[in-house]
Amino acid sequence: MIGLAQTQAQGVFRWDWIGRNIDAIWDRTVEHVVLTVVAVSVGLVISTVLSLIIVRYRKTYTPITWTTGILYTIPSLAALAFLVPITGLSHLTAEIVLVSYTLLILIRNIVAGIDGVPQDVLEAARGMGYTRRRRFIEIELPLALPVIVAGIRIAAVTVIGLVTVTSLIGLGGYGFFILRGLSLFYSPIGTTQILVGTALSVLLAVVVDVSLALTERALTPWARRKAPA
């Protein structure tokens, strides 16, 4: 009985698998990171444009957030299902799906960030002769930065998780290991791959989240020093 438990315990996780698959892990790391970075960057560009439209024309807020809300609600697998017949088993398919999940999160945060810039600061800027463009870049953007970065962090962590699903169309980054582990579910090698894929994905999410948080801290020194008013 004890012997059986021991062999089982040894069998649950196969450390040797990691050693034998270092190269594959590295390749999938690159894939995971590239998919994430492209998705968040493209999402950021699109969201910035849409947010600027919202800030300029308030009426567009509801339709835009409604549309991106629907995109957000559509399950990733369904989104893949829609796109595969059109764009095939490609990076493009994966990126469209991933980007569509970032939009709602990013737009909400960008708009909230810009809305959160104090009115008196804006009025002072206007009164001192800032042009619209310069005011946006030098005043509104930096002050909205903490909220925008918070959105980017959520978007990035969300995308890192979703990347694993794209393993179903032959990509997936660490998701590749999870999917292959599933097909070997009866063997310890399978379990090992699922756990390794999951752990690495979580680790990547944490690393990215912390790096973004640190970047934000470095970019917003004024938010750190608070003295009694």
Partner: protein
């Protein structure tokens, strides 16, 4: 000089004009205070000058130039602007906040640096504050930074919207005093908005009293406003104590001085007694020829024949002819003799009496 001619503003979607038809001129180098009840259009008027609000009618010229013809941001860079909430940039250090407009104007680094130090000194901030962020200053300090920032490019015109509205009364009084002394040195053309009539009286060379709809009820120096309100609205807004308020604005030289119960040293005591009886007081003064030596009471002269040896008391307060009636009133109330002596330098001019002051209040 700022000229408003038939200026009006009706906000979109509103039936009534916030400012109906406003015409007045703000002379160069003077400070004009816009005062009036809440919602009367003070802020609207002020913001039309730097075009934060575009008028719907009329013309505004600053230094002879029609502001509507200028690029809005160029116009604003040449006009200092201070608001109640200050609006310091939270993400910039105090140094960078003060340097805002010079940077917008593209000044050289060295010049900006020098200017910032100059202003820091001018508004009485310490240099170690320059590297701090606005959240690390007190309310009063922030307001000083706001003024320094508005003055940075040395604009000839300064617009201030309730600049001291957000600080506590003690700090407010200090900042007001500082502004008065700053203005004495800088001679800016200042337009300041407040709803506090006392602040208006204290800070304005002229006061423009507005009614709802931007109607200019009276435009006059504070003293004239208080002495001669144009109508019931103005009188009402100034309050029943406007006579007392005016005392701070009227110099002692404006009223009749009593020569006072003054006797020469050689005068016999009997004459002193006679003088006291006439004045119905128990004291008199020794002096003559534009000088006075001191005063004595009835008790002091008992046993003397003349005033030669009488022990004299010095006057506690000496007023100058340029001092205000309010200062005179203070002195009168707090003195034993119920009068105060007024001098021009060392020369004795006469006595202020409470009767004369109250006559001036009632007038």
């Amino acid at each position: 000089m700022i000229e408003l001619e038939h200026v009006s503003k009706t906000f979109p979607g509103q039936d009534v004009a916030a400012v109906g038809d406003l015409t007045f001129t703000i002379p160069e180098g003077e400070s004009v205070v816009l005062v009036g009840p809440s919602g009367c259009g003070k802020t609207t008027t002020l913001k039309m000058i730097n075009r934060l609000i575009e008028p719907t009618g009329g013309t505004i010229t600053v230094a002879g130039r029609d502001v509507a013809q200028m690029e809005a941001h160029e116009l604003r860079r040449g006009i200092g602007y201070v608001i109640q909430q200050i609006g310091l940039f939270p993400h910039r250090t105090i140094r960078d906040n003060i340097a805002t407009v010079p940077k917008l104007l593209g000044w050289e680094k060295k010049r900006i640096q020098a200017r910032v130090l100059e202003l820091t000194d001018l508004v009485d901030l310490s240099e170690d504050m320059l590297t701090r962020y606005p959240s690390e200053l007190s309310g009063g300090q922030r307001q000083r930074v706001g003024v320094a920032r508005a003055l940075a490019a040395d604009p000839p015109v300064l617009l201030m919207d309730e600049p001291f509205g957000a600080v506590d009364p003690i700090v407010r009084t200090r900042l007001q005093d500082e502004l008065v002394s700053l203005q004495a040195r800088l001679n800016k053309t200042i337009v300041l908005v407040t709803h506090d009539i006392d602040e208006a009286i204290k800070l304005g060379d002229r006061v423009a009293l507005l009614n709802i709809g931007g109607v200019l009820e009276q435009y006059a120096p504070p003293e004239e406003l208080l002495r001669d309100p144009a109508n019931a609205f103005v009188a009402d807004f100034l309050g029943t104590d406007r006579g007392i308020k005016r005392l701070s604005l009227v110099p002692i030289s404006q009223i009749n001085l009593d020569p006072g119960p003054v006797l020469p040293r050689s005068a016999p005591v009997a004459e002193a007694r006679e003088m006291m009886r006439r004045y119905q007081i128990d004291w008199a003064v020794v002096g003559g020829d534009g000088r006075i030596e001191g005063w004595f009471t009835e008790n002091d002269i008992a046993g003397h024949d003349t005033l030669d040896r009488v022990h004299l008391l010095p006057f506690q307060t000496k007023l100058a002819a340029t001092d205000s009636l309010q200062q005179a009133l203070d002195a009168v109330i707090s003195s034993h003799t119920a009068v105060a002596a007024v001098f021009d330098g060392e020369r004795y001019l006469g006595m202020v009496t409470s009767e004369e002051i109250s006559r001036e209040i009632i007038e």
